[in-house]
Subunit: 480 residues, 2 copies
């Protein structure tokens, strides 16, 4: 593979350019003809499908069901919850024509579906028997991005799921937002090998229309935090304007308590940033479209026959173990080209199989994430691979956790705050309950409160900005 | 269940009203706030997911992969293939604004994605090595319906899949449209128990932009034909304007040969119409969200304990066989109410379990599709249910096939044609190759050529309309 088709910048030197080149050159996604929109190529979509399947089964297990909502929402409906409308209005795409005619009440492409879902819920919910109602929607949302767009991280249409639940009981709804956040955390840690920090968003950063928002955040190599998923306790903020009511067991009418929550393909962006290196993608084994690539190495026709035959045998065995295996038998390409190609695509394990290895009943076994190369007997190879896929996942997670731990620290002064921010640190620092302090810090440094962790109350320190008595010690960072 | 929550008309008396009531009252779907749009409730979506999973695995097995395309297509791109644009333009939803600003080149909500997909394919395909390229997209399409809309059958947004393939070779592309049609047919017959008739569309009815279109059609109880899925051989009609080219093994540039194909949630509409009855839905077992419902019958607390305990035991056994089972232990509802409720929802098998049955180690076993009721020993019940689910499927398919056969007939004269059409028949009749005859028949009777079956050449008869020598004997019907 010539330099021009490899990545031309280093991750450590031009992170943003490295990221974009990687997405395109590893063939995960490509730019669509409309600015801010991307197309997912099969490898990118396959990662999304793996994530989806893992999360979906957890949601089904916990009593959620899937549904479908249309993409068009009338303006009058979107405007029913005022804060919500004000928050989303600037980024809404509007349909104003169909065919050659004008449309009366113009139609929004859903930026999120609370207003539509709850209009339906008001029709469907009659009594306590209909509760809880827990429906999830796998769809896409559209928000016109004016800032620079970036595949997976900031696009005007993105794939996501949005869950919408209604409960008879406030506590049950609050438990839902906590439970879902745990499910999200488990999915991200178990599938993508990314450690996350969970907690509450500040008032300033919560979802428009929510009582409060819970979040999971992770650290990216450039020191910024990536919001990986959020769950919102909506209280009765929507059930009142949308009149989502139920008759309780005493036949008294009450408004329901609601939650909504979502994760998007942004998770894939996080995975690329956290694990990728200068040679390309490094895929966590459980979501890798191809987990093992076998490359036969030969010079003569006879060598080709024997190495290919053995390769097919190994592939067959791995197939029966339900692993995703590719035998790269493309002719006319050199082994070196193939090595680079699959390194770019991030395949976790590469098996090289040459005539000399075969004579000794061995193969060469290479791990993508740490470039470790070793010989391994063909005997027992399948067991080794099955085990190594888990080891690689654990190793990748431990590496990311180590970096997260090393790069999270406490600071007490604003000077320290600013310098540690430049060092790419996530910063725990005391702050008072005056919202102006958070705003000033954001204005002056670009960093804001990413997450207020459980147990981070701190009334014995001084606010990092105004030096009054602090209330909490939340986590600050610049964000994506 | 009172009359007001049952279906208030008979299938045989007001088919259209029966259909709409059924969709809403069985809680498959509901009307969205925008005219022509529907929401899928969990049971409706679950049927779609079953269909999707069955079709998807067949597509993956045959080397197709999934991808994602954004929903917005610039007007300039949609206009690149002229016939295609003219065909779709009247029903396109246009985005003209985002936030408070105007958009320059207005954006279409995809009515179908040929133009966008092939813009991408032109970038991705370089040489014969990149072919065939076979990508499928599970998404929704939007076509503003001006006629009366009907859930699943005619809506302005619908769930579907669209496959788009590119081949080096014409024959290979033509084989693809035939192979996919077979996959569609198998899916519909094996999952929905609906027999279909396959063949070609006439020139007049083919997809705008295609060289030819293959179709599968089925007979609805009102005598109309429902187009259940189509595959299109696009030839080089799109590869030329979109410049989708490849270098062959001699390094000579050629345009690719293309296909596209799709099925939508219309299949669910067909299933409802073909199998439903005056009591509600009748679901084919393989797509039923609940395949077996168990209803314990009790009057005292003691009876409640024993019947519930046994019910749970049976459910547990069925669960381990991966069946979808619901134990209806809702208190305060009578068994009669529950029977009607699950009949409305079309659950294939109902198990009733009362104290007297229990004493004799028996249950009552009821089949939804033919209302057959019998006793069955608890011993061996699970095996019986597993077997019956297949039997019910086969029985439902055979019933539908029998009706299709009885209601397909040959006619030779136009008078006969018109009267048999009123009798709800699918009509095979000879026609010449003058397109005016097909058009006149459509104008005068509302029926058109639904499908030109393989081997229906007929040059020894007289055209049913103009009495000149016929060319073919295709199948006519009115369509949805």
């Amino acid at each position: 593979m010539g330099k021009e088709i490899g990545i031309t910048v280093k991750k450590s030197e031009d992170f943003s350019e490295w990221y974009t080149q990687l997405v395109i050159k590893a063939e995960l996604a490509d730019y669509a003809p409309v600015k801010g929109l991307i197309v997912l190529r099969p490898d990118g979509y396959s990662i999304w499908e793996s994530l989806k399947s893992s999360l979906d089964s957890k949601l089904v297990e916990t009593g959620h069901r899937n549904g479908f909502l249309p993409i068009l929402i009338p303006e009058s409906l979107l405007g029913k919850e005022k804060d919500h409308f004000t928050g989303f209005n600037p980024e809404v795409f509007w349909v104003t024509r169909s065919g050659d005619g004008e449309i009366g009440d113009k139609l929004a492409l859903r930026p999120t579906s609370e207003t539509l879902a709850y209009t339906m819920y008001a029709k469907w919910i009659r009594s306590w028997r209909d509760l809880p109602l827990k429906i999830n929607f796998w769809n896409s949302a559209l928000r016109a991005e004016i800032k620079a767009t970036k595949p997976f991280l900031r696009t005007s249409e993105f794939l996501w799921q949005e869950g919408h639940t209604a409960h008879a009981d406030k506590d049950e709804a609050e438990k839902e937002v906590t439970d879902i956040l745990e499910i999200y955390k488990k999915t991200v840690e178990d599938e993508l090998a990314i450690p996350v920090i969970t907690g509450k968003k500040s008032e300033k950063e919560k979802f428009v229309g929510a009582v409060y928002t819970l979040t999971m955040e992770s650290l990216m190599p450039d020191g910024k935090a990536l919001q990986m998923g959020t769950t919102h306790f909506l209280g009765q903020n929507f059930s009142k304007p949308f009149e989502v009511k139920f008759a309780d067991t005493n036949n008294v009418e009450n408004f329901v308590w609601q939650t909504s929550w979502g994760v998007s393909w942004r998770l894939i962006g996080g995975m690329i940033m956290v694990h990728g290196d200068d040679k390309g993608l490094v895929l966590p084994p459980r979501v890798a479209p191809i987990q093992v690539v076998i490359i036969p190495i030969y010079h003569s026709d006879e060598e080709k026959n024997t190495t290919l035959e053995k390769s097919r045998e190994i592939k067959k065995e791995l197939d029966t173990r339900k692993l995703r295996v590719r035998l790269d038998d493309r002719d006319q390409l050199t082994p070196g080209f193939k090595f680079h190609d699959w390194e770019m695509k991030g395949v976790p394990i590469r098996i090289e199989l040459g005539p000399k290895d075969l004579e000794r009943d061995k193969v060469v076994f290479v791990r993508r994430h740490n470039q470790q190369k070793q010989e391994h007997p063909i005997n027992g190879l399948v067991e080794k691979i099955v085990m190594e896929l888990d080891n690689i996942h654990n190793d990748m997670f431990a590496n990311a956790q180590k970096i997260l731990d090393e790069r999270t620290g406490n600071v007490e002064t604003y000077d320290e705050f600013k310098s540690e921010l430049e060092n790419g640190m996530l910063i725990k620092t005391p702050i008072c309950d005056n919202p102006a302090c958070e705003e000033k810090i954001k204005e002056e440094t670009g960093a804001d409160i990413r997450v207020i962790q459980d147990g981070c109350e701190d009334e014995s320190s001084k606010c990092v900005y105004c030096s009054n008595q602090s209330k909490i010690r939340p986590l600050f960072a610049r964000g994506y």
